[in-house]
Each structure stands twice: as C-alpha cells, then as structure tokens.
C-alpha cells in the first residue's frame, strides 16, 4: 500500500518535473530561435549592403586610349608643345560637362603654358541642342571667339538646353561677344563646321569614348575627380613625371 502510494507520489513528482523541463526547454529553444532570427537578419543585411557597395563602388572602368593626337584643327588652350596634354571629349548639353567647365578653365588659368588643353565635340544623341551648340562654338571660333562662346554656352546651359529656339539664344551670345552676326549664322549652317563636329565625334568613337566628359591625359583616359584639388594633384603628378 505504502509503496504504491510513494510510487504514485513519485510519479506525480516526476511528471511535474518533466513538464517543467519541457517548459524550460521550450523557452530555451524559443530564445535560440529569436537569436537566430535576429542574427540571420543582421548578417543578411550586412552581406547585402556589403555586396551592393562593392557593386556600386567598382563600376567597370573601360580603358580607352586616344587614337588621334592633338592637331592644329583642334581648339586648344595653353602651350601646344607642352609635355602634359589634356584632351576633353565633351557635350555642351551634358550637365556633367557643364559642371566640369569651371574646373578645367581654372586648370588652364593656373597651369598656363605648362599644359595643353584641347576640346573636342562629342554631342550625344539624346541631347537635342548639343550639335547646334557645337556648331555655334565653331562658328564663333571662325571669328576667334571659340573659348568665349564655349564658356557662355556652358554657363547658360539650363537656359537653352530644352528650348526649340536655341539658335536665337546662341545668336544672342554671338552679339554679346561682338561677332559679325551674318558670318556667325553662315557658320551655323556650314557643311565644313558640321563635318568638323562629326569628325570629332567619330574620333571619339574610335578612341572608345562612350560618355562625356571623357578626358585623356597624354593619351590615356583618366577618371576625372569631381573637385579641383584632386584634379590639380593629377596634373602636378603628370608634370613631375614628364619633366
């Protein structure tokens, strides 16, 4: 009788303990599950961000080598005999090119005859007024005001980029620069100028240019830094290596 009772009590006790253990185990496994969930989420997020940073940061930079050296037909600033030659393929309607214009201008002013800076046209198809702007700069160039027109066109890019009457606006700039307007207008429609712009474009294509601005430093495409100081460093370095 007694034995049986004990075993009964024992059994009850055992059951209670088992239940407690189960509960404890349940709590433990829940905790582990929660921990795993958060660890997985955080690790996954970190991995995702890391991957995206790698992807976004290391854009495959296509190398390109300048095929056509600077020639007398190019618009240049500085000393044509300089050891450091920069060639820019640019589009007057490209916002990035307009962004870089003051940087390159400052560069030419600061380095003067130590470098050559050449401008070549690379009007992109998606820019409706880019070619016309290139013609305008060339037409002004016939009256020796290429760079003046070049600056005006870039500085006022947002005033003409989407306009149907960009030609009038460019003619206005020609007037500001004191150009002979008839001659300027002739230039705008001249085949010679159109051919020159197309030639520049084709030479860009041959040199693997696929975006503007593309800049070649002594024939090799460089990554143009978006601030003046870094740009200055690149030129100083090139001057040091080529002296």
């Amino acid at each position: 009788m007694e034995e049986r009772q004990i075993t009964k009590r024992e059994r009850r006790e055992l059951k209670r303990q088992e239940k407690l253990e189960q509960q404890e185990n349940g709590a433990k496994s829940r905790l582990i599950k929660r921990f795993l969930l958060w660890a997985l989420v955080l690790a996954g997020t970190a991995g995702l961000i890391f991957g995206m940073v790698k992807l976004g940061g290391s854009e495959p930079e296509q190398s390109a080598i300048l095929i056509n050296a600077v020639s007398p037909s190019d618009w240049t600033k500085g000393n044509k005999e300089a050891k450091v030659v920069l060639v820019e393929y640019s589009d007057f309607q490209c916002p990035a090119c307009a962004y870089y214009q003051p940087l390159f201008k400052k560069l030419s002013e600061e380095f003067g005859d130590k470098i050559t800076f050449a401008y070549r046209h690379f009007p992109l198809r998606q820019h409706q007024n880019a070619r016309l702007a290139a013609y305008a700069a060339e037409a002004a160039g016939r009256q020796n005001k290429f760079w003046e027109m070049h600056d005006l066109i870039f500085e006022n890019q947002n005033r003409w980029e989407n306009r149907g009457d960009a030609e009038n606006i460019f003619t206005g700039y020609a007037r500001t620069l004191g150009l002979d307007i008839d001659e300027f207008k002739n230039g705008l429609s001249s085949k010679e100028i159109k051919d020159k712009v197309e030639n520049d474009y084709q030479s860009g294509i041959r040199s693997n240019v696929n975006a503007t601005p593309t800049v070649f430093l002594n024939g090799e495409k460089i990554k143009v830094p978006p601030n003046y100081d870094e740009l200055q460093n690149i030129i100083n370095e090139a001057l040091k290596n080529n002296s």
Partner: protein, 167 residues
C-alpha cells in the same frame, strides 16, 4: 456558436503570412537599391553623360543631398528601419508593432512623391534606381494600407502619441 462574443467586438483578423513576407521582401529590395545608389554616390565613377544610359543628372543634382546627407543614404536608413520593424513584428507578434510599421510606410511614399516630382518637373531627368525605390516604397505603403484595412483600424489616430506606439 452562441458564445461567440468576438463578433460583437472589433474582429481582430490575423494578417496572412504573405503580407508580412512581402513587407520584408520589398524592404530588402529597397535596401539593396538604395545601398547601391549610396555606394555610387561616394565611390562610383565621377558624374557623366553616357551614350547608353543618358545622364546621371539626377544623382548629380543638388537635390540629391538633403541636410548634408545623400538622399540614397536616407533611403538606406528608411528601408533598414522598415526591415527591422517588420522583423520585430515577426519576433514579437505584437499587433502594435505591425500597425506602427504600416503607418510608417507613409514616410516613404511622401518622400518618393516629392523626388518623383523633382525628377519630372525640376531636374527633367529620371534615374532608374530612384524609380525602383519609388516603386518599393509605394508597394510598402499599399501593403501597409492592406494591413490596416484587414485589421480594421484606421490610418488616423485620435491621439498623437498613438502614432508612435511600437509596443
């Protein structure tokens, strides 16, 4: 049958798993997209116009930085926070967390609407990755509204403090 008192009170329907799964998946997409844009902002090749993808006028515009922080990085913070909220709900199953998450999605759609407006009318250029983000945050908002509708709670709260209750 007769003892079903729940029908008289507000029926608190459970939210199907697919909605929670979608909330998580879409915020992961948004997070990936905005991380990519942020990386491009800080490390990517300098701004240019390309033959193939037009101009990077959008990511290079002055509107691409708000309070000194690139919009893309704001996006990363938003989607990351959203993801954490969704996971918090999965973890805690607290209905308040889910409601907060659902209401929080309005931040993304308001920001997206503003940036879409800037792209179309001011910058006059669209950026693919910005559009992906706009689609993500719109989807999150729609999912958020679905959650609130299924739970039969209104988007608006009587008390300002109720908007910020996570637990």
């Amino acid at each position: 049958m007769t003892s079903s008192k729940t029908s008289s009170t507000r029926p608190s329907k459970t939210i199907p798993n697919w909605i929670i799964f979608a909330l998580i998946a879409v915020s992961v997409v948004g997070l990936a997209d905005s991380s990519y844009l942020t990386a491009k902002h800080y490390l990517g090749s300098p701004i240019n116009c390309s033959i193939f993808n037009g101009c990077e006028a959008v990511t290079a515009s002055p509107y691409s930085v708000v309070l000194g922080v690139p919009v893309a990085l704001w996006g990363v913070s938003y989607y990351f926070f959203f993801l954490l909220l969704a996971i918090l709900y999965v973890d805690s199953k607290n209905e308040k967390t889910l409601e907060f998450t659902a209401r929080f999605s309005i931040v993304g759609i308001v920001a997206s609407a503003w940036f879409l407006f800037l792209q179309i009318f001011i910058i006059k250029a669209l950026c693919l990755y910005c559009l992906i983000s706009a689609v993500s945050s719109t989807t999150l908002f729609i999912l958020g509204l679905t959650v609130l509708k299924r739970k039969n709670v209104s988007f608006l709260q009587n008390n300002l403090r109720d908007y910020f209750r996570i637990f």
